[in-house]
């Protein structure tokens, strides 16, 4: 295991993920209206980022790996973006 902070760092990350899971469950009892989904997505994204950075070692990788790892996020926004623009700009006769 090189340059990844060792087992202590991984255990800390695991504890953080457990904590965020607890937050996800705890926060579900509150109704934030339209913000319900964005808040759930925010916590989920945070967890996914931590997994990618530490458990998948992205934090310690070079620029090329970062390009490969982040480009699909751009594509995801592209897919959702164009689809949403279509849905909200349709004229229904």
């Amino acid at each position: 295991m090189d340059n990844n902070g060792g087992y202590k760092s991984l255990i800390n990350i695991w504890l953080l993920l457990m904590f965020l899971t607890f937050i996800t469950v705890w926060i579900a009892q509150f109704d934030f209206g339209a913000l319900n989904v964005p808040i759930a997505l925010l916590i989920a994204s945070l967890k996914a980022s931590v997994v990618a950075l530490y458990f998948m070692h992205l934090k310690y990788e070079d620029g090329m790996t970062w390009i490969f790892a982040t480009y699909p996020i751009f594509l995801l926004f592209l897919l959702i973006g164009f689809t949403v623009v279509d849905m909200f700009s349709r004229v229904i006769n």
């Binding site: 592209l78 897919l79 279509d86």
Partner: protein, 531 residues
């Protein structure tokens, strides 16, 4: 054959197990070649039946329901079992390590696993034949949710095939990053490898989307989830967005490797360095990038908003630029060259001619006003086949002939192969050119019946399939009956690394990893003369 490698890859082990469990990239490439060949023939038979049905209006040889099944099978098999995995997995596997100076791909076991996954997906497809789908290869909702035909099995087959595609893509990308021989810099990489690299990017990035989309479709049919059902707050057009987000880049998964093949063959038989190496290399990446931005041009009449239609129409024209760069560079490579009209070169020239027609008619369809009239007509069928057959399949046939001595260590009868080429070229145009005219006159695609005024066009088109069929059979006959005697190691005097060894290659390709010191396309230069 060197002492270190006493046998070539074909002779290193015999029997089923020696092939089925092999991790040799060349054997895996050959197995892909046979597998996709079988599905190509099956899908072609389905298309011949579809065309025969159109000899007369109304029922000629099959019922309307059978007709729907036949064109679905033709499209789904050709797309998912032949043309998407086709050139990339077969020739990509065989050639990439040889071209970059490596002994194998970087993950040989993963490579074999990809092939097994391909077989598993194909097996599911074959099982689905017992109760085939009738949706067309696009599985559009809401029909794909409502039809009584078996949609789930065939979509699950596509889902499994997707994993094979992704794993192959990952393998090729990492191989080209990590296993290039010393001196094989990115600007010396053969253009087939650049094309395979761009293809692999598309396979890795786009395929998961169609996998998820087809899972949603399965969920919709099984559990009535409502993603694509307006009554439950869903949207059927959303299926098309997700489907084409993969399937438009998939068009380039199909065509890019064929473009790579043409880039390899042109300089060899023109005895000139490739014109605009960097432009061709980077245009492959540009095509991969832009192909993600144009999917909505398949949906101009789907109810998609006018605003997004305009945006997609404008971007669609952008993708023509890197494609045209390649075509102009191939033409300029031939200019004042010492051209040899070998069979592989003939297929390459046909590729340029037919693909240009396919590409230019794509621009008609990218124009909003024209597309309203031409959408879902035979014009689209003709356009797609000029790109997919005229482009990819002709490129594939060029590769079959060009690397034939490398793969099998034998030569074929060039004269008979050229006769087969002439038949296929003429037959192809007789089949599909009338379809452009039919389409502009309003003949819709996927219709069992048609108005009497279209009969002559349909009949000409059907006769064309008979010509092309004879051509295919002759081509197969020629390739199955190699000439006696062993082929020379490098019969075309190519300068690429894959020709620097005996034909067929030994199991480990190179006794020692070579050091590359010169650009790969130095034909007709002082360096070649010295060599």
């Amino acid at each position: 054959m060197s002492e270190a490698q006493e046998s070539n890859y074909l002779e290193n082990g015999h029997g089923f197990k020696s092939w089925f469990y092999t991790v040799d990239h060349k054997r895996i490439g050959v197995m892909y070649l046979w597998a996709i060949g079988v599905f190509f023939v099956l899908a072609a038979i389905a298309s011949f039946l579809v065309r025969a049905e159109h000899l007369t209006p109304g029922q000629t040889i099959v019922s309307a329901d059978t007709y729907n099944v036949l064109f679905t099978l033709h499209g789904a098999m050709m797309v998912f079992l032949f043309i998407v995995p086709g050139v990339a997995a077969s020739f990509g596997n065989f050639l990439i390590p040889l071209m970059i100076g490596a002994k194998d791909v970087i993950f040989p076991k993963l490579n074999l696993y990809s092939f097994w996954l391909y077989l598993a997906g194909a097996a599911i497809f074959l099982i689905a034949l017992a109760a085939p789908a009738d949706t067309g290869w696009t599985f559009y909702t809401p029909y794909s949710i409502e039809t009584g035909a078996n949609v789930i099995l065939i979509t699950f087959g596509v889902f499994v095939l997707g994993f094979s595609s992704i794993l192959t893509g990952i393998n090729f990308i990492v191989t080209m990053h990590k296993l290039r021989a010393p001196g094989m810099t990115w600007d010396r990489l053969p253009l087939f490898c650049w094309a395979a690299y761009a293809t692999s990017l598309l396979q890795v990035l786009a395929t998961p989307v169609v996998g998820i989309t087809l899972l949603l479709l399965i969920g919709e049919r099984y559990f009535g989830l409502g993603f694509f059902d307006p009554a439950k707050g869903g949207d059927p057009v959303m299926f098309q967005h997700f489907f084409w987000f993969y399937s438009h880049p998939a068009v380039y998964i199909m065509i890019l490797p064929a473009m790579g093949i043409i880039s390899e063959i042109m300089p060899v038989f023109s005895r000139k360095p490739i014109f605009g190496y960097k432009a061709i290399a980077y245009s492959s990446l540009a095509i991969a990038l832009i192909s993600f931005l144009v999917w909505g041009h398949h949906m101009f009449v789907s109810g998609q908003s006018k605003l997004i239609n305009i945006i997609f129409s404008v971007i669609t024209y952008a993708v023509a630029v890197p494609t045209a760069i390649k075509v102009f560079n191939w033409l300029w490579t031939m200019y004042k060259g010492s051209i040899e009209l070998s069979t592989a070169m003939l297929y390459s020239l046909a590729f340029i001619f037919l693909f240009t027609i396919g590409g230019l008619t794509g621009l008609f369809l990218g124009a909003l006003a024209a597309d309203v009239h031409l959408h879902d007509t035979y014009f689209v069928v003709a356009h797609m086949h000029y790109v997919m057959i005229g482009g990819t399949v002709f490129g594939f046939f060029a590769a079959l002939h060009f690397w034939y001595p490398k793969m099998w260590g034998r030569m074929f009868d060039e004269f008979k192969a050229k006769i087969a080429f002439v038949l296929i070229f003429i037959g192809f145009n007789v089949v599909f050119f009338p379809q452009f005219i039919m389409g502009t006159l309003g003949m819709p695609r996927r219709y069992f019946n048609y108005a009497p005024e279209f009969q002559t066009f349909h009949q000409i088109s059907t006769y064309g399939t008979w010509i092309i069929g004879v051509g295919f059979i002759l081509m197969l006959w020629v390739l199955m009956r190699p000439l006696p005697g062993k082929a020379e190691g490098n019969p075309y005097d190519s300068l690429s690394l894959e020709w620097s060894m005996d034909s067929p290659p030994g199991t480990f390709n190179f006794d020692e990893i070579p050091t590359v010191t010169e650009p790969v396309y130095n034909y007709g230069t002082k360096i070649e003369a010295e060599e």
